[in-house]
């Protein structure tokens, strides 16, 4: 779509989205009020992944998501978080792709956002369980899922609004 025509344009768009994601990630980390659960985040930065997905496609979304995870890990000083959020991003984009393939028009950006949020957490907890060799961490998934469903809903709505102003012709599109 809007970035598929030119290679340079695509690179610029990915760069723009990644940097936006980094800024959102940072902005979110200094918001004090959103700490319902340890490890629970609003996930504002995922807006850019969602945007990349609906404006360009799975590949771009994966690229933007992984780059953002890597860079925010490096900048944030929490290098070990790269492996968690990296796998989270991988699986959440995969889930979004599957949702698009199997359900196409029935699920909009908001639904993809919630699915993505869930799979992000599920992958994160799984990686944690593998690394710690402790399956009890899975008991943390249900409360995390409740929080992530609401956060996913919120970020999905945000992403949809941005999408509309980015390309108004997508208005009717799911």
């Amino acid at each position: 779509m809007f970035i598929k025509r030119f290679k340079a344009k695509e690179i610029a768009a990915v760069g723009l989205l990644v940097s936006l994601g980094l800024v959102l990630h940072y902005a979110e980390s200094i918001l004090p009020f959103f700490q319902v659960l340890p490890g629970g985040r609003l996930g504002l930065a995922n807006i850019v992944t969602l945007l990349a997905f609906s404006l360009s496609g799975t590949g771009t979304a994966l690229l933007v998501g992984l780059l953002r995870c890597f860079l925010s890990g490096v900048f944030g000083g929490a290098v070990s978080s790269i492996i968690y959020s990296g796998f989270g991003t991988l699986f959440s984009v995969l889930a979004m792709w599957l949702a698009k393939r199997l359900l196409s028009q029935k699920v909009s950006t908001i639904g993809r956002s919630m699915l993505g949020a869930f799979f992000f957490n599920a992958a994160q907890v799984s990686v944690c369980a593998i690394l710690l060799e402790n399956t009890y961490v899975f008991s943390y998934l249900p409360p995390l899922t409740i929080v992530s469903a609401f956060c996913g809903l919120l970020t999905g709505i945000c992403a949809k609004r941005v999408e509309k102003s980015f390309c108004p012709q997508m208005d009717g599109e799911a």
Binding site: Q105, C128, S139
Partner: protein, 122 residues
Amino acid sequence: MTRGDKIIFFLLIVGAILGLLCTKLLFATGGDSQVVVEVDGKLYGQYSLQEKNGKTIAINTEFGYNKIVIADGRVMVTESDCPDHVEIKAGAIEKNGEMLVCLPNRLVIRIEGRREVDGVVY
């Protein structure tokens, strides 16, 4: 918001609540939790925390005398010949990892069992 979105939201919430219930059942003070009693660092005895009618154990050793009661999935010390009675004042313990200690009598009572999650680090 499409119908599909609403269904996803609904499924996630319902799934999470089911998951919560499951973990409550699975990880609640595990059915196989054990009360471990140690005297002077050596194992004195091991008892199931799930005593139906309650169990009273008198511990008589060279270090002193204590009486502990296991009932309703909880353990407490009811009698002691030590001077301070700290372990009696501590009340009852019920969760894995909790401890009652009587230092003068070198007695440690600990609940062991399925490990509960201490924390998740991101």
